[in-house]
């Protein structure tokens, strides 16, 4: 039996979604003339500004397309569900947002994305546009610390893109935007838990099996297996496991500031996310960390997967200023 979805032909889902997005948010977004899978910010890209191009597979909405807008990303290259976009839309993004001072690619660290975006960067170089790349690797569950370069990018993308987007909006140089992006990535830590699978529109089958009463800690946002599977625990215990691991990685000192993201994977109600946040804040307080800002909601999803993640960004003055800088995206704004 097929999973239940409100879609037409599964093969058309991504393009029809983009149609719906552009119809809803035509004041902030447009497509590139070269590619319907290149979504460009109407306001934002400008001469002299470093262009920020993000992207990746669909199915994580509002990541990536929802974070395109003034003060955040200038464009997003959109792939099929859970599949990197091909080089063409990424290249189309570059051409649309290049302001003469270089372009930065930012996306999660997945083999497919790396190959496709690298091809696009090579093609852009042929047009004399300098493109650099910063991969996000915030998922602390996805590889041990000594193989940090193997970690994947997950919900923490949101903070990392936000910091880099603000840096570019401040008209920093490509060197500086790249430095900020790497710095933001190095200080952002995410741990996730999954409770149920999701299904691709094209197959409408559950993409993995998570038996009744079980959860998986550390599962990836495409359903990639995590680090531990076991019976569902209480919210406080789940959050404690996440926070222990994150604290261990972060090595913050009492008095340090953090930004918090409690992210839902798609099917988890806000009620549960806020119950998690209660514990997150209790743990932060207990170790003397101060919360500068908190976001709770579905920021990086895995279609209809149930589950959640906690992200901390370890702030310093620069990151705090950049996180606070206003931005105006179709699905997110800071004012």
């Amino acid at each position: 039996m097929q999973t239940k979805k409100i879609i037409n032909d599964g093969d058309d889902a991504v393009d029809e979604m983009l149609d719906g997005i552009l119809l809803a948010h035509g004041d902030t977004l447009r497509t590139s003339a070269d590619s319907g899978r290149a979504i460009i910010a109407r306001h934002g890209p400008r001469d002299g500004k470093v262009g920020l191009v993000i992207g990746g597979g669909s199915g994580h909405e509002p990541t990536f397309v929802g974070f395109v807008g003034q003060g955040l990303a200038d464009a997003a290259a959109i792939g099929n569900v859970f599949a990197s976009p091909p080089p063409d839309p990424a290249l189309a993004c570059v051409k649309e947002v290049s302001g003469g001072t270089g372009v930065l690619f930012m996306y999660g660290n997945y083999a497919g994305d790396v190959m496709n975006f690298d091809m696009a960067a090579e093609m852009a170089a042929m047009d004399d546009i300098e493109v650099r790349t910063v991969l996000t690797t915030d998922d602390v569950a996805s590889a041990p610390r000594d193989e940090i370069e193997k970690r994947r990018g997950v919900a923490g993308n949101f903070f990392i893109f936000k910091a880099a987007g603000a840096a570019a909006d401040e008209m920093m140089s490509l060197d500086d935007v790249e430095r900020v992006a790497r710095h933001a990535n190095a200080r952002t830590y995410t741990m996730g838990v999954a409770l149920s699978p999701c299904s691709l529109p094209q197959t409408r089958r559950w993409n993995f099996d998570l038996p009744e009463g079980e959860m998986e800690i550390g599962m990836g946002i495409h359903g990639e297996p995590g680090i531990e599977r076991g019976p569902i625990k209480q919210a406080d215990q789940i959050v404690d496991e996440m926070m222990d691991r994150i604290f261990d990685e972060m090595g913050a000192a009492s008095g340090d500031r953090v930004a918090v993201l409690v992210n839902g994977l798609g099917a988890t109600p806000l009620m549960e996310l806020y119950i998690m946040n209660r514990r997150v804040q209790a743990r932060l307080e207990a170790v003397g960390l101060s919360t500068h800002a908190t976001w709770v909601g579905n920021y990086c999803t895995s279609l209809e997967m149930a589950g959640a993640s906690v992200t901390l960004m370890h702030l310093d003055d620069e990151l705090q200023r950049l996180i606070d800088r206003p931005c105006h995206c179709a699905m997110f704004r800071v004012v």
């Binding site: 091909p86 193997k150 993409n207």
Partner: protein, 207 residues
């Protein structure tokens, strides 16, 4: 083997990918993100569409068209890997309108090299290269035999190679983060490679 024969091979591969779509997704679901069947069926579906109009052109042109179509339809990991494979294969037979038995090993070797170049995988990393690598060796070893034999030998080797990935711990791609949990599962990219090669080999019987 002219351009139309190459086209027929790709169309046969497309049918094989359609048939195996759900099975490949299920394999990918065990250690990846459950979309490999969608990617391969989608990529070869795009090849089918792109080649429909092509008639009587050189093999290289067919392969280049396939590369472009696959890449832009798919992205993902498979997109650049197979696009590069097809481009390399096209380059290997550039200038020829008709290929002989002697060209068969070169085509397979070029595809394997393209995949290795693009993905920077090594054998044993538990990727499609663990099928394409042995296939390339087998094709080289069968040099001088009829093209059908070469392709079947490559498919045989790819099947054995794909089977061997069950015992491997992934070091590249999505599955790499699994560590020991990737053991016991066949790599979907290696599985599809074996199916592709077999479907291509079978086109020689039919023609």
């Amino acid at each position: 083997m002219d351009g139309n024969d190459v086209k027929a091979m790709l169309l046969a591969a497309a049918d094989a990918m359609d048939a195996a779509r759900d099975e490949l997704c299920a394999l990918d679901g065990e250690i990846g993100d459950a979309d490999h069947g969608v990617a391969m069926a989608g990529g070869f579906g795009a090849i089918r569409t792109a080649l429909v109009e092509l008639d009587g052109v050189a093999p290289t042109e067919v392969l280049n068209a396939a590369a472009k179509a696959f890449l832009n339809a798919v992205g993902a990991s498979s997109g650049p890997l197979y696009a590069t494979a097809f481009m390399r294969a096209g380059a290997a037979v550039k200038g020829k309108d008709v290929l002989g038995d002697g060209d068969a090993p070169g085509l397979i070797v070029a595809m394997a090299e393209g995949i290795a170049h693009r993905g920077k995988a090594e054998r044993g990393d538990k990727t499609m290269l663990d099928a394409w690598g042995p296939a390339s060796d087998a094709a080289t070893a069968s040099a001088g035999k009829p093209a059908a034999t070469v392709f079947h030998a490559a498919a045989d080797a790819a099947e054995i190679g794909a089977e061997a990935t069950v015992e491997m711990q992934a070091r590249l791609g999505r599955a790499a983060r699994l560590g020991a949990r990737s053991l016991g599962h066949k790599d979907p990219g290696a599985a599809s490679a074996a199916l592709l090669l077999r479907a291509m080999a079978r086109t020689f019987e039919e023609s």
